[in-house]
Amino acid sequence: MAKASNLTRTDLDSSFESYLSVSSRTSNRSLRVAEKERRKSQTGDPFVLALKYFSEVEAGTPCSGNDVLERNLVLVERVGLSRGLPPEAISVMLDYAMSLRMGGVMCVRVLKFLIPATVVPQEAVVRAVSWLCVGKIAISTQVLFLRWVLTVFDMIDSKDHLRAIYGFIFSFVTEESLSPYICHLLYLLTRRESVRPFRVRKLLDLQTKMGRQPFLLLLLSLYKVFYPELVTLALPSRMRSGFKNHNSTWKVALSAVQKRNNGQVSSDISLTLGLKDKTNSRKRKFHHLELPSLSSSIQSNSSSRSRKVFPLEQLHSFPQLLDNLHCIELPSQMGSLLGSSLALCYLDYVQDDSAFLRLNFWLGHALHEEFLFCSGDGGSGSSSEALHFLNRLLSTQHFLQEGFSSTEGFLYKFLNVWDGSLLRPQILGLLSDIPVVPSSCISQLLFEPLMQLFFTSTLFFKCSVIDCLNSMLLKWLTWHSVYALEDGLDISLNSHTPMNMTLSGFMDSVMELVRFVGRLATVGLQLEGCHSLLLSFILDFYETVCDMFLKYGLPLVVMPPVGVFYPALFATDPVSVDRLGYIMYRYKKNLTSAKCQQQETKQAFHISRQTYQEFNHYLLFMVSCLWNSKMFLPGMAIEVDQELLALSKVPEPWTSFDLIHHPAFLGCALDFHHKCWPERKDIDLNSIKAGKQWDWYPEFLFSQGFQGLQQFVQSSINRRSAAGINGQRGSQPTNR
């Protein structure tokens, strides 16, 4: 205190100057220079002089009729309300006011314009509190002071000294008119170590005296966060919103000053206790879908009282999480983590088995009760809560990039009773998250129920199932590529793979999945008359499959079944044929590089001879059909008796699926024909096959955006420059 009144003039001067230069840093430099000039020319800044007056004025100086006082006060007031006061000024003025050197009226007046420009020095507040202890100040003024502290609380530069006098502040709690504000202040200052049994008892005594006051309850509820074994209470919902703001006196001036100073510091004190957003939906008899609220657990608290812990309830920002990573305490109910992404970050970081098990128990219970046991209020389908819950679960799993095992177990059961339409996007989304299923039980758990649903549902369901299986495969492959890499770095850590599975086991599962989709696709295409939407989803899947070796490092190549290949090749839309071209191109890349690797390293992973044969077969057929206009010949995949063909009366049937006559490209061919011979009335597509046109025609197709076809043609067909009309089969990987 003495130190404050000893502030010399030079002290004030220099610091204020630095303050000014800070505040005007953004303004025009020449202006600043001019101002400095002006200030130098003056004998002294009146503002600084005024502050000096207040720091030095004797106690008991009369205030009525004191012109000097009035002049200085108005000056400081004007600065305070317009620009805000610098920290030193706050310090001086607060001390002046709280010491009541010129009486209570002055004190109130000063407090009202005490708007900080940047920060409030905590020493000033500590000193002011000590003046409070002297006990001369009128109660209403004390309230005003406390309200001021609460308003500028976030601008106090640091709070450790204030926390050190927690006990002093606490002692004011018995003062009836002060206690709402004191409780609020304590709420802001409370740390785990400040919660003591005697304080709890004191507050409870007050509660019996004053009744259920929200401020007492809010403070006690914070105490409960730190020491649930000391005090317990149920906070009524109307009280969840937290403390009221007491900043009415300063609100306007403060926001004006902050706006002026670019609003770097926000004093908006908004406290919320309940992290949970209460759904306004009807009260349910069973609320297993409701997320429990975050609360600290009694269990670990009592066991680790000495250790510093940080309850998750208190966690509000990512930096906070980083600072307290070593001492964060998991909440009493793990289900509450699902609501907070910060908490999920932490969960992903601690690899705590029992934490995951607790979460899985809760989650599994919720899912089972809602969708399998249906012990809730009747039908579960219509409720938007179920939708909300599953969406939240989905986003959690995507956040963790991992499905919960309880979700997985639930899905295996649910698939058997699912009608295929209830919450379809969510269920399929969850399904695509399941980790690799061992090949021994994949069929029973996954394929059989899915197959039943698939064959009895609409086209759109079929598409979404294929899509779901595609993203499932993608996730499996990604896991494999990530963890296989980790294993390569450190062999001793090989229990770290996501599935704890041998490579061959993993390959078996992938193989099963791919074959299963092959079967689904074959029958699905037949059922839906080769619908191009379904075909498109199926080709999506094979785009993943054809690149398994190169993209994901899995030494496995599986060819599509004939039931997929031929419908795609003979599709009436060019997009499908084009994508098939791309897929064949990627297959070729994968197979050739697999073969190279096999030859180089002599390490035997076997892509079977049969796979190569299948590929060659397809390739041969595709080239001769699209390019060489050869079809239905003996020895080819599709053989048709010549006599039978003749009966169809189609002229030159072997040409009907070459690039010109293929129904998918017929439009392009006509277009090309028209461009080549704009004046010709009679259209003869066969004329494209001759001469330069045959060279130009593929280029024309490629220019239409058929990139897949282009890659296919360039990789698999050696075009002889001009002479050869018929292209030659390109080099193919063979297994000889």
Partner: protein, 354 residues
Amino acid sequence: MEERNSTEKTPCNNALAQRRSKSYRQSMRSCVEATHLAYTSGLLTALRIPRSRKAPKSRDITKQVDPDQVALLVKKEWQLSYVTPFYQFRHTQLKSYSKQLSAFIVSEKQQGLAIEVGQELGFKVNFSVVLGLAETDKDAETVFIQILSKQAFAAKDDAQKVVWSGWLTCVNGDLDYLRSLPLEFVSLPLFCTRGPESLTVLVKSWFEKTFDCCFGPLGINSTNLQWLASLWTGCHPTINIQYLKLVWTLPTLPPMDVTYTVHPQDAWELWDSMRQVDTTEDSISIDEVTGFIKGLQSHFFRHFRIDLSAGSLMQISTALGSSHHSGKIKIASPNYIPTILQLLTECALLKMPI
């Protein structure tokens, strides 16, 4: 890459494996067990549904368990729930649980009033252990909870009135399941309650908040009611069951309830005739049970031309106890407590989500 291709890894069963592998291992478990799955709608679970049981043997339970405590359990009707394993539940902490639960009840009853834990309140909660009910060393000991209410103006020496009681138990729980739980978890899957619903809700909510568990209602389905009927009938030679009463509900419009009471001797003879199919004395198979019930049903059909198998069995009772579809059970004789509790523990474990 090349190295990996050649070497086949052995699956790692290391208990200290990382969490990521753990989540997989658990799914493995459900896969392996799924091969025994009975896929019926409604009751689906990864645990095995038993097809045979040991015949009940009369045993004087009071030799192992405090008779006073046994008296608390028998001759009362209990409402059943299942509960997932408790996290960090300790049988040594029961005293502090008593304090916390009583404070919790008061604070919940008086919304918005903070309560000091350990203070004298309008409610008193007693936690106690019922030693001796556990059958294997994996079974956790049974916990009995009583809530007593203090009358505001009662004389000091007035006995406090029991307003609610409940107990958590596990008898002969599935060993594989119990072994798979980490040490921090205690499984007491069967929760029996008696008293006002509002208090049950509060107790459950306290348990959920304190031990991170979840409660759900536990019904007793027809199959299990049939089991109980057979088990109790089989006891007739040792203890007179006096009557066997079965209640069916038939899906007519309006629904028809059929109460079917059988003379104990007749019931036993029918049961005994079924039993002769099996040679081993010790175990009872599900076929014998269904045969017994079919016999009862066909007898009824002969007289009344009503096929009971079209309806569902709702309730059975004998002098040894009674049991209702909605999850109510009453055990009248202490001699067969373990048999009944084992069956109910099974039902509760079948409800576990993992």
